[in-house]
Amino acid sequence: MSHTAPAPTLKMGLPITNSKLGMWLFLGTEIMFFTAFIGTYIVLRMGSPGWPTDTNVTHIKIFWGGLNTFVLILSSYFVVVSHDALLCKQYKKSWNFMLFTLLLGFVFLGIKGYEYYGKFDHDILPGHIPESAEQAMEKAISTKVGLGAIVDARLTAMYPKQTKREDRKSENDAVTAKLKDKADATAAEKTELAAAEAINELNNEYISLKEHVRAKLSLEVPYANFDAIRKEENSASKYPVLTLEEVEHKIHELNKSKTVGPLMGGMHVSQPILYGNLFASNYFLMTGFHAIHVIVGLFMFALVLKKGSKLCVDDAYLIENIGLYWHFVDLVWIFLFPLLYII
């Protein structure tokens, strides 16, 4: 074939570049992707009377969410400035604003991380949240996150060699018995004894609390009487029922106590949140996928920044497309913020 001078021909299709068209179509698919999440959230929330809205309960921080909105808006603005500067052939300015955008992206993620940290700290996590007083009490004594877990952890720390909980417990009893009778105990041995006794006390408290929770009997009823009560007929209706306040009070006391207090690690009783798990599921899924999109955006910015001084007008298409993507990420947040934080 010959290299004749390119003859003018008809360009079919739209008067925009393939990459821009492709980006817009991609954004269309992204809209559907987030619609699935947001739509799910809206309808699930509508269908769940009693959805938690109190920010004290959900540990939603409107201020930080608002700040993050501002951060994203600012970064969106910087992207357009960067694109504008590039078209005006102010390459240095363009590069700088790209850099600012990247930094703002990091700021956004930082704030998001701080918010997540708060959620983790309060155990506002899907599947972890009690939704009724009973579940809250169960959780307070659970061996995964509650008092049971604390006892286990302390025992394990003290007797790492034994593998079973029962063995650790009997080892603890043995140590207590041995050191108690010892008249000439050294200072080290004395602290060991104190520690062993503290664990023992905590364990007793734990067992008593556990049995109370299981039997649904008020703490006013001493644990020692349980065997007798079990033999009575219709025992349940005769005795007062355990309430969450009692458990809370108990844990509060244990925290204050001189002997076992230090072992408690500041444990507190989680409050029941109706539909808390569903709330947390939605919160983490939506903000999580949004954050992933932010991270992808950061990679794109890095791609542009890598060009350094080689940035030129031809890159306008690249920056424009990256900008489109980034504005979309911003748009998603513009809706997530009111939907999750305010309404």
């Binding site: 990459s19 739509g39 269908g47 357009v80 031809d314």
Partner: protein, 139 residues
């Protein structure tokens, strides 16, 4: 590759010759967006009694914000008619999902039989009976 060729050709005429900066416009839009953000936070602080009005206001503000971003930052205001062809079906479809789900998931035709429902009813009954609402402590 051919992308660039097409791009140059397509955009020849308006962007490449002499670009007039849109900086001023973008700056204004930026401030408008900030204003909207403050508005939605402010609306929350008003502690409006009627939640639905609050929701309507806040969603309206969010939509206006989204429009600003799309029209100016995403240049939709300056694009050809293809934007309608692309966006109209997308938005219709996107609206279909939640709308179609409302009669089935958002509301319930059949009785819902889950612990949360009974818990909620108990709480409401307690509220009606004049008990102080269960105080939730803030840690």
């Amino acid at each position: 590759m051919s992308d660039h060729a097409v791009a140059h050709a397509a955009d020849a005429g308006h962007e490449h010759e002499e670009h007039h900066s849109h900086g001023q416009l973008y700056f204004m839009v930026f401030w408008v967006l900030c204003g909207f953000t403050l508005m939605s936070i402010g609306a929350d602080y008003l502690q409006m009694a009627n939640k639905n009005i609050l929701r309507a206001i806040i969603l309206a503000v969010a939509t206006s914000k989204a429009l600003c971003v799309m029209l100016y930052f995403m240049h939709l205001k300056f694009e050809g008619a293809w934007k309608y062809l692309l966006l109209a079906p997308t938005f219709i479809l996107a609206a279909t999902i939640p709308l179609a789900l409302v009669p089935d998931v958002g509301t319930h035709y059949y009785t819902v039989d889950v612990p949360q429902r009974y818990e909620y009813e108990a709480q409401e009954a307690a509220k009606k009976a004049g008990h102080a609402p269960v105080k939730v402590e803030h840690h």
